[in-house]
């Protein structure tokens, strides 16, 4: 069983102080991620305001069904992660490992679906600087839309990949009894990161995929 006292680092006076510090630390890191992605949203918003029709035309060419499924996948992975943290809070080792494994699987599914989506985009000549072709007006600005589309979804996918790595790591640690009811900070912290990756996608999805679907 993990020993809470052994997990106390020397700079802290007690486990409560250590947990407080870890919680503050991860939330500050999440704030930096929000700002990091936020710049992309700002660049996107400002460019879209200048070229509404081109961005609408681009959005209509994105793969809404796959992205919609992916959103459901990611949201579900958020549920399984939360259930994993809950298991950790109660010291339920097997449940923790199980839920973490499911989360990893769902994260991989997200990336797999995204890969399929990218491949379809490639086949439809939507990749800027590679094979982009658009027959309508404002083709340059539609290409700009797709530059932002690939960049935003790409950076997000990278964060998903990192998250999968972290969750897989703590799943292995959990299976080796590294956590207990008294100490499960890495699970907590990874869970918060994973939820943020989900929150970011919840903004990315409508902003990229849902412009002007009614026309």
């Amino acid at each position: 069983m993990a020993d809470a006292a052994a997990a106390l680092h020397p700079q802290f006076d007690d486990a409560d102080q250590q947990r407080t510090a870890a919680n503050l630390g991860i939330w500050i890191f999440l704030a930096t991620e929000i700002l990091f992605f936020g710049v992309l949203f700002a660049a996107y918003a400002i460019t879209r305001v200048r070229f509404p029709e081109a961005f609408a035309a681009g959005s209509r060419l994105t793969n809404l069904p796959l992205a919609g499924i992916n959103t459901a996948v990611l949201v579900t992975s958020s549920l399984t992660m939360a259930l994993g943290v809950h298991a950790a809070q109660h010291g339920a080792r097997r449940a923790l490992v199980g839920w973490l494994s499911v989360t990893v699987a769902l994260g991989c599914a997200f990336l797999a679906i995204k890969a399929v989506e990218y491949r379809i985009d490639y086949l439809e000549h939507l990749v800027p600087s590679l094979n982009f072709r658009f027959a309508g007006p404002q083709a340059d600005q539609v290409e700009l839309f797709f530059y932002m589309y690939f960049f935003i979804t790409g950076v997000h996918a990278l964060h998903v990949l990192i998250g999968i790595g972290c969750i897989a790591t703590i799943a292995v640690m959990a299976s080796r009894d590294a956590f207990s009811r008294a100490y499960f900070t890495p699970v907590d912290v990874t869970g918060l990161y994973w939820h943020l990756v989900d929150v970011i996608w919840l903004f990315v999805f409508p902003v990229l995929y849902l412009i002007s679907r009614s026309s």
């Binding site: 936020g38 958020s78 549920l79 919840l202 409508p206």
Partner: protein, 92 residues
């Protein structure tokens, strides 16, 4: 300020169902011809979804006020960036 909040699993499931329902709404309404109102509606749904995840799955509801401030301050910063930059772009 630690994560000692025990949320019952059923709450997580309810949040999950709400998120999926809101997903259906946001996709569905995107196909309705609401003109300029489509985007704000989608964004409002995103904000609601984000709030659900942050308040429940990320335990913000029971968190220390400092943690709540840290959680939203990033959004505020980006809002300032977007608002003032858009003000420039739209008034040139």
């Amino acid at each position: 300020m630690t994560n000692r909040t025990y949320t019952r699993p059923v709450v997580y499931v309810l949040v999950w169902l709400a998120l999926l329902a809101l997903l259906a709404v946001t996709v569905g309404t995107a196909f309705l011809p609401l003109g300029w109102a489509n985007t704000p509606l989608n964004l409002a749904i995103s904000v609601t979804q984000a709030a659900l995840v942050m308040l429940f799955s990320m335990h913000l509801r029971a968190a220390h006020p400092l943690v709540k401030i840290i959680a939203v301050i990033g959004f505020f910063g980006i809002a300032i960036l977007i608002i003032l930059s858009l003000f420039d772009v739209l008034t040139r």
